[in-house]
């Protein structure tokens, strides 16, 4: 009995870094759902989807220390995959005439379609990873960027199935704030389970020192490939959510702008911890939302004051610069959030307390 309770408390303790990330998100979703305007609700939903994106990036980038610029390619792959399965049964045979017969005349239910799309993104990550995961450092960044370009160019010219550069419209929009919340929580749990797993620890060892990691029997290629695949699948989920949140799909939604915005969120929050990924999305989303409002203008008594358009991007750039100059490890600085909030009691990625060396 006591043993069982201890065991439960032990598990609860191990889960705190995750719970302390998820609970505030649940509260935010609740508040937005109860009291927020439609605009606020949409913003919160979008931020939750962004959490899936950045957590997906974090799984690979944060644990491996290798910068991948190709993550959004997997979002695109999954977004189109779910669209092919669920979208516009009337128009599909005409506007996407290049689709295989069975897809042209079939509409798949949302959940299996999403699953298939996520699996496809994971598969694409695995296959491209077979080549890309042999690279390190700058070569890896350039290689993954090339992947993003390849997918972008392919999809924007593959007119018969993607409608080329024009948007696909009429995608069913089933993504509510609750579905986005479930996905964000799910991706956080997946990322956490990965980072406390053997493979996660091994990957963080390769991040610290590639040579030493090999010398203790770690295959850099294999550990990175696994993380890249999981990361690709989570990003695929984010792509599915985007498609069914906006109801519109165009290949340029998943290109440079999203790549760099999501990477900025990871950098600002802190690449070295899962908490950093979440905190980065939340803080930058707040800033973006604030400046969007200010750009639209607010009434001060009789006069309407507004910031010039583009100030939001400017402020983001300034925040990025400040972080890079003064706090390179990001807001969270490699630490997970723990309970109780004792200061100077950082926790390593596996939830283990770090003590100061004597």
């Amino acid at each position: 009995m006591i043993a069982a309770r201890n065991n439960f408390i032990c598990h609860l303790k191990a889960a705190t870094p995750v719970l302390l990330l998820i609970v505030p998100l649940v509260l935010a979703a609740l508040l937005a759902d109860q009291f927020g305007s439609i605009g606020v609700l949409r913003s919160v939903t979008e931020a939750l989807i962004k959490i899936v994106v950045v957590v997906g990036l974090y799984i690979f980038i944060g644990n491996s220390g290798v910068i991948s610029l190709g993550g959004t390619a997997f979002m695109a792959i999954a977004a189109y995959a779910t669209t092919w399965q669920t979208c516009c049964s009337m128009m599909k045979p005409m506007v996407m005439s290049g689709l295989p017969e069975f897809l042209k005349h079939m509409t798949v239910p949302f959940a299996p379609a999403a699953l298939i799309a996520v699996a496809l993104a994971g598969l694409a990550a695995f296959i491209s990873g077979l080549v890309l995961m042999r690279l390190s450092g700058l070569a890896a960044a350039i290689g993954t960027l090339a992947l993003l370009f390849i997918v972008n160019v392919t999809y924007s010219n593959w007119d018969s199935v993607t409608m080329g550069a024009s948007s696909v419209v009429g995608i069913p929009t089933y993504v509510t704030v609750w579905i986005a919340l479930a996905a964000a929580s799910g991706s956080i749990v997946v990322a956490y389970l990965f980072q406390i797993s053997r493979a996660g620890l091994a990957l963080r060892a390769t991040r610290e020192d590639e040579i030493a990691a090999q010398a203790v029997g770690i295959s850099i290629f294999r550990t990175r490939l696994l993380a890249f695949t999981i990361s690709g699948a989570v990003l695929g989920l984010a792509g599915v959510l985007y498609a069914h949140f906006l109801g519109v799909l165009a290949i340029d939604m998943f290109f440079m702008q999203l790549t760099f915005l999501s990477l900025s969120m990871l950098v600002v929050g802190g690449m070295g911890s899962l908490a950093g990924a979440v905190v980065g999305v939340v803080s930058l989303s707040l800033v973006i939302e604030l400046f969007r409002t200010l750009e639209r203008g607010i009434w001060l008594g009789e006069t309407k004051a507004s910031l010039p358009a583009g100030s939001q991007e400017l402020v983001l750039a300034v925040i990025m610069l400040c972080i890079l100059i003064w706090r390179r490890e990001g807001i969270m600085g490699w630490k997970e959030i723990t309970w109780p909030f004792t200061r100077h009691q950082p926790v390593s990625a596996s939830g283990e307390k770090i003590e100061a060396a004597a």
Binding site: I211, A213, A215, V216, S219, S348
Partner: protein, 264 residues
């Protein structure tokens, strides 16, 4: 049981595996870092490897652990050719090493440093953690288990490096200057620790070291290298009186500058 109960003497007649390098040559462009070097290491002995800076000691360790392909020569473990194995595969075969530059996983905890080294054996995280904790206790590092490896002082850092190498459950540990930067007291502790390794962990040790006190106290056999060649091999007493060794260390010829851009 003390380590003195074990048979001593020449390499032949030892139980366990044998790691052998024969005629190993490594050329970097025009520079010959190694030319035709032999080395033999049994699973229950401690062999010292000494030589001036740039003699090729680290390069030899890199060859034995798969980080450097030999231009020529053989590397064998119990008759098995190792030359095409990657470093992580050699670690799985039981050849482990420490680094001259430490190379700990600095932002992982000390415990995690050891834990991660046990994974290739296929054990669970919990088993790896138990092994790590036991090792930390044996190396007297338990107090630092939860510290990040990057926060340790030099002496402890070296010891964690040894612990990490041992956590791979090796047959052979190749140590690249584990005593560099240590004070006399720390060196003595280190010698005691290293001397106990063959009996305690069942693995042979190749010890590269500039500190002769450490070498003479820990090793039963010493190999001397200079300019990429083996110039002497034998018991400590014979080595310190060997004329060629004295010439290499105290002779007029200046040692090659240390460094290069390899793995240290």
């Amino acid at each position: 049981m003390g380590i003195l109960d074990l048979p001593r003497g020449g390499p032949s007649g030892y139980p366990g595996s044998r790691l052998i390098a024969e005629g190993v040559t490594v050329r970097f462009g025009g520079v010959s870092a190694l030319s035709g070097v032999d080395l033999e290491l049994g699973q229950s002995e401690i062999v010292g490897l000494i030589g001036p800076n740039g003699a090729g000691k680290t390069t030899l360790v890199n060859v034995l652990t798969g980080f450097q392909r030999p231009t020529q020569g053989k590397v064998e473990l119990d008759g098995l050719d190792l030359r095409s194995d990657k470093p992580f595969q050699l670690a799985a075969r039981g050849i482990s090493r420490t680094f001259q530059a430490g190379r700990l996983f600095r932002r992982l905890t000390v415990r995690e440093n050891l834990e991660v080294a046990g994974f290739h054996t296929g054990c669970t995280r919990r088993q790896a953690r138990e092994t790590a904790d036991r090792l930390l206790e044996e190396l007297d590092l338990t107090a630092f288990a939860g510290s990040t490896a990057g926060s340790l002082n030099y002496g402890h850092e070296r010891r964690v490096g040894i612990g990490r190498a041992l956590a791979t459950k090796p047959k052979f540990v190749l140590m690249d200057e584990p005593a560099s930067g240590m004070n006399d007291a720390e060196c003595e502790e280190l010698v005691a620790c290293i001397a106990g390794i063959p009996a305690q962990f069942g693995c042979g040790v190749l010890l590269i070291e500039h500190n002769m006190k450490v070498i003479l106290n820990a090793c039963e056999r010493i190999q001397v290298m200079d300019g990429g060649k083996r110039i002497a091999m034998g018991k400590p007493k014979a080595i310190i009186t060997d004329a060629r060794v004295r010439a290499a260390y105290f002779g007029t010829r200046h040692a090659t500058a240390a460094g290069g851009n390899g793995i240290h």
